[in-house]
């Protein structure tokens, strides 16, 4: 080697020394840095990865794996990572990878639904998804319990967990035209919506949940009444034709309205969440006093009840507190009559305080179903009557009232259920009877005999008058002439210029003078009683005319 070197490289230049080269080991920094970057990516991806949840839907319409996002408040919090059919092919299971920051939404009461464009009577929603494609909406629950399997909703929930307000329960006979999302009105302002509804377990009604937004939820009080505001309310009264609706949308889509019952409410206060209310058919029904529990009574009528119909009102002293529900005929073998049994539902609470007091009395006596109270009322004369409500149509209604003069009820049984209220004939029937009696009596009057007697009497009277004219009247005339002459003589004697008058006047003047001198004498004697014995004193002053004023005190002091 060395020989070759020396022999070959003799004429060649030698390399110069260059600055020291960097250590080649530094090149390993490059893969290390790359590895660090890769590791940081892995770590950040791992850290950002939230839980994977699965949601089942009826259909995967509009959903796309790897593309459909999950949005909460319009922020993307996850993505669909897989879509597959459930084991029994009845549902679609959608796998969703949530972001780490959104891991808290996977709690047991969170709800998921697919946001699609929807057009209904209540409005249009999800239009933006027409272009961007559907996404999955979330309503984050408040529970602390985490959950990974969810059942997706087919419709967006009308009430979200973070909406402020209260939900209440309404009971109704039927759903009407209400639907989830139907508006709830308070003074024609939309304050909430129907959240859900379901048939009662016994199938005899519908229970629905409504949600009233804050701050309007405080207007739902213990005095609030709810009614179905769907449709148009037409009423004809003395004021004319009235057409009452909540809003055009309500007419088409239905709605619920509530308001306070009329009248003062001293104990009015907001009610807690989930309080139950009754949903009435109409506003007027809702505003009527509460009916309470109905009771069933039966009445037996022996008279025909033409004009009485099912739903005819039952009144107590003029207050409508029930209605007829059945009219049935029976046959009584003993009396061979056809009594008619009328069944009626009554609402004692419509009687207000009367019912409250009676109930209290009954309770104090341990009388649970108030039968004893009713018995005592019957004893006082509680009777049912079929009365004419409308003279034109002859419609009857049942009137209950206390009739003190009513005959004693013979067929009343306090232990019978339902209670049978004794009846008395209706006022119209009674009137008819009395009229018939009167007509009978009038018929019995012997008008012919009376007429004959009257004729005889009149003939006698005629004879008498004739006699009077012939005999009595001429004698009467002579008597009158005599009397006239007597009166003329008396008149002359009493005239002003008659001698009798003049002599009478002179006599009276003389008498006057005599009285005066007598008074003078008595006055003097009063002053000088001794004069009666001694005679008249010489120096005594003559008595004055007005001496009576000075003499009087003397008289007064004399005794």
């Amino acid at each position: 080697m060395t020989e070759n070197q020396s022999s070959l490289g003799g004429g060649l230049p030698e390399p110069v020394v260059r600055r020291k080269r960097v250590n080649a080991a530094w090149i390993w920094l490059v893969p290390v840095v790359a590895a660090l970057i890769g590791l940081s990516l892995v770590i950040s991806a791992w850290r950002e990865r939230g839980p994977t949840i699965s949601i089942s839907f009826e259909t995967a319409q509009g959903l796309e794996s790897g593309k459909t996002v999950v949005k909460y408040k319009d922020v993307v919090i996850g993505k669909v990572t897989g879509i597959r059919l459930s084991e029994d092919h009845s549902k679609v299971i959608v796998k969703v990878g949530l972001e780490k920051s959104a891991s808290g939404i996977a709690v047991s009461d969170s709800r998921f639904w697919v946001v699609r464009p929807r057009i209904g009577l209540g409005g249009v929603s999800g239009i933006d998804t027409l272009l961007s494609g559907s996404f999955i909406g979330v309503d984050v629950g408040k529970s602390q319990q985490t959950q990974n399997d969810f059942v997706g909703l087919e419709n967006p929930p009308s009430v979200l967990h973070d909406s402020r307000g209260k939900s209440f329960t309404l009971h109704a006979g039927d759903l009407g035209s209400l639907d989830i999302g139907s508006p709830v009105f308070y003074r024609r302002l939309q304050v909430g919506r129907v959240a859900s509804y379901k048939l009662d377990d016994d199938g005899k009604g519908v229970t629905m949940q409504i949600f009233v937004d804050s701050p309007y939820d405080s207007f739902v009080t213990n005095e609030s009444r709810f009614w179905n505001a769907s449709g148009v309310d037409v009423s004809i009264s003395a004021d004319g034709l009235k057409l009452n609706t909540q809003s055009l949308a309500t007419v088409l889509a239905g709605g619920v309205a509530f308001n306070d019952a009329p009248g003062p409410h001293p104990t009015e206060k907001p009610v807690p969440e989930n309080t139950s209310f009754t949903l009435f058919d109409t506003q007027s029904n809702a505003m009527a006093p509460p009916d309470g529990e109905p009771r069933y009574i039966v009445m037996r009528f022996d008279q025909p009840v033409r004009g009485l119909a099912v739903d005819s009102p039952v009144e107590f002293r003029g207050i409508n507190f029930g209605h007829v529900v059945s009219i049935r005929m029976d046959y009584d073998e003993k009396t061979s009559k056809f009594p008619i049994y009328v069944g009626a539902l009554i609402y004692p609470e419509r009687l207000g305080r009367a019912n409250a007091k009676l109930a209290e009395i009954a309770r104090s006596k341990g009388d649970e179903d108030m039968s004893k109270v009713v018995t005592s009322l019957v004893a006082q004369g509680l009777r049912a009557q079929a009365k004419v409500g409308n003279l034109l149509t002859g419609q009857l209604f049942i009137s209950l009232d206390i009739e003190p003069k009513a005959p004693k009820a013979v067929d009343y049984d306090p232990n019978a259920r339902p209670l049978q209220i004794p009846t008395i004939p209706g006022s119209f029937d009674k009137l008819q009877e009395q009229m018939a009696e009167i007509v009978d009596k009038i018929n019995k009057i012997p008008f012919d005999a009376i007429g004959n007697n009257l004729n005889h009497t009149l003939a006698d009277l005629d004879g008498t008058i004739k006699q009077l004219n012939g005999d009595v009247l001429p004698a009467f005339k002579t008597t009158l002439n005599g009397a006239n002459q007597t009166l003329g003589t008396a008149n002359n004697a009493l005239a002003a210029d008659s001698p009798l008058q003049q002599s009478l006047s002179g006599t009276l003047q003389e008498l006057q003078r005599m009285a005066r001198s007598l008074r003078t004498l008595t006055d003097y004697l009063n002053a000088q009683p001794s004069a009666l014995i001694r005679g008249r004193a010489k120096d005594a002053p003559p008595p004055e005319n007005n001496g009576s004023s000075t003499a009087q005190p003397q008289q007064g002091s004399k005794p």
Partner: protein, 207 residues
């Protein structure tokens, strides 16, 4: 010793840049006396550097494929695409020719480069004289197609610049394309740092 003598047998060293031949004085940090560039018989630590760069490139190749490289939004329909999903989408939507091109440029070529360089390195390490001409050809091929590996990056860059129609259509790059670019750069550096003369450095017993 039937063949021609090798340079190191003759105590000579050639400059890679200007071609000047010098005497090999065995000093550590030699430089060409004519052009001043460093002198070495073979590229120093060629295998180590190539390995390092190749490994780094491979590490970056993973996120380049996993992460989306491009977001296309048209009429509110947002779509993130990785390299592979883009290829699939092209194929499904009726452009199999384009799909093949993109697949070749983005998947086949980088993978091929990894394989070829690894093969070259391993064979050079073992000093085998198996298929030396073919291996040289492979090396030249890798060098040549290195220029064209940036196809994906160019596509994303062009589309991002051209397709900006707001709501109707919009394209934006995503992190994956950066890692893909790094992969391409690192594979090019790796192929450069490999010294093809190592292919021929072997015992010539069976030549």
């Amino acid at each position: 010793m039937s063949a021609l003598p090798r340079a190191h047998e003759l105590g000579l060293i050639g400059c890679h840049v200007c071609g000047q031949v010098c005497r090999d004085t065995q000093i550590e940090d030699a430089a060409c006396p004519r052009c001043g560039s460093s002198l070495h018989r073979r590229k120093p630590y060629s295998c180590v550097r190539t390995w390092a760069l190749l490994i780094a490139a491979f590490i970056f190749y993973i996120p380049a494929n996993v992460l989306p490289i491009m977001r296309t939004a048209s009429l509110g329909d947002v779509d993130d695409n990785t390299i592979l999903s883009g290829v699939i989408e092209l194929w499904v939507k009726g452009s199999p020719d384009l799909a093949v091109i993109v697949f070749t440029a983005s998947i086949v070529v980088p993978m091929m480069k990894f394989l070829v360089i690894s093969t070259l390195l391993l064979s050079a390490l073992r000093g085998t004289n198996w298929a030396r001409r073919q291996r040289s050809m492979l090396y030249r091929l890798v060098e040549f197609i290195g220029y064209w590996s940036m196809l994906d990056v160019f596509v994303v860059a062009l589309l991002t610049a051209l397709v900006q129609f707001g709501f109707f259509s919009q394209v934006e790059p995503l992190p994956g394309v950066v890692y893909f670019g790094l992969t391409v750069i690192l594979t090019m550096l790796a192929s450069q740092s490999f010294d093809p003369r190592l292919i021929w450095d072997c015992k010539e017993d069976d030549d």
